[in-house]
């Protein structure tokens, strides 16, 4: 029971902190999960990868984390605690906004939060890269993906699936 409460409070906190979307809390999530729930960095990156393959919001991968820690109930607890607090905040903010309309401060705060969330996303890239780029093969796969996503219109899911297949082949050869 206390495990579930701990899980709920951790993800509720992450939910409220996720300014700029889920990727902004990736490094914090990785740290908290490693320290408090013994989900190591490799596992975390594997689970993150599963989220990239799923339709809908990528951060639904938090359900797998909940499942790993406490089974289906854990997944349910994580779903509620990660999505409910931020959604409620946004709901009431939307109603407030409809009442007050545009104010110069709203624009300013949004402008001010943007570079912070980009900085946090960069930290997210760094955290995920540290755990997943472990060899010259994985480095090459990451760089090729970066290039393909920026320069072509290939569906990202195909790129990721291709990289999974290619990675498996290459690593099977090397080891």
């Amino acid at each position: 029971m206390s495990l579930l409460i701990h899980l709920a409070s951790t993800f509720a906190l992450l939910s409220i902190l996720a300014v700029g979307g889920g990727t902004a809390v990736l490094p914090e999530m990785q740290t908290l999960l490693a320290q408090q729930f013994s989900i190591d960095h490799t596992q975390f990156v594997h689970i993150y990868s599963i989220g990239q393959l799923a339709p809908g919001p990528n951060m639904l991968m938090v359900l797998v984390i909940g499942y790993q820690i406490a089974g289906l109930i854990g997944a349910g607890v994580v779903l509620l605690s990660f999505f409910l607090p931020s959604s409620l905040l946004c709901f009431y903010m939307g109603r407030l906004w409809n009442r007050f309309g545009e104010s110069p401060w709203r624009r300013s705060i949004q402008n001010a939060l943007e570079p912070i969330s980009i900085g946090l996303m960069s930290s997210g890239v760094y955290a995920v890269a540290k755990a997943s780029v472990t060899s010259s093969i994985t480095l090459a796969l990451a760089l090729v993906t970066l290039y393909l996503i920026l320069r072509t219109k290939i569906n990202p899911v195909l790129v990721i699936l291709g990289s999974g297949g290619l990675g498996a082949l290459l690593m099977a050869y090397v080891s």
């Binding site: 599963i50 980009i118 790129v159």
Partner: protein, 190 residues
């Protein structure tokens, strides 16, 4: 769904709940590889005309400013706009249901096969590609911020506090938000 035209030849802005659910469910099921906001815009503004382009932009701004996933926040706001609190709930559930079932299915398989070397190789390759994808998305979202000295300074400071000094996220936000809001205060554009 009712398509009655009101006196001003305006489409009714209260879709029935089932239609709202089905539309967001289909976005949740087909929006692979990010870009859900784009699908939401097509649905809300172009396909069903449930929101005007202006309303959509206003809701997008709130979605991005508030914590939480932008696509989920957009579902909350659009659902509330169309059918109140119940609409917000229905739209959000529709959006996250398909992906939730998907990750749980894969998660079950992963939990039972994580020790198998080939699974680790495949996921290792996928993880490397996911890193490249995340870097690309971050670069694109950063857009013009990478070229503005002030933005870039805030980005770098945030990164250093978080990744190098390893402060926890609440502290990073408590330090950076006041500084950044001061720099971007009203009447001091760019």
């Amino acid at each position: 769904m009712s398509l009655q035209l009101k006196d001003g030849a305006q489409l009714t802005k209260s879709p029935d709940l089932r239609d709202l659910f089905v539309q967001f469910l289909s976005i949740g099921a087909i929006s692979f590889g990010g870009g859900i906001i784009a699908y939401e815009r097509i649905l809300l503004v172009e396909k069903r005309q449930w929101l005007s382009a202006d309303e959509f932009m206003a809701y997008l701004a709130i979605s991005q400013t508030m914590p939480g996933l932008n696509s989920v926040n957009m579902a909350v706001l659009a659902g509330d706009h169309l059918r109140g609190a119940l609409g917000a709930t229905i739209a959000t559930l529709g959006l996250i249901l398909p992906g939730s079932l998907f990750v749980l299915g894969i998660g079950l398989i992963y939990a039972n096969t994580a020790d198998h070397p080939s699974i680790n190789w495949i996921l290792g390759g996928i993880a490397a590609a996911a890193t490249g994808l995340l870097a690309a998305i971050t670069y694109k979202i950063g857009d013009t911020h990478w070229r503005h000295v002030q933005s870039l300074a805030i980005i770098v400071c945030t990164f250093v506090l978080m990744s190098i000094l390893k402060l926890s996220l609440p502290y990073v936000i408590l330090i950076m938000a006041p500084i950044s809001i001061y720099l971007y205060r009203p009447g001091r554009s760019k």
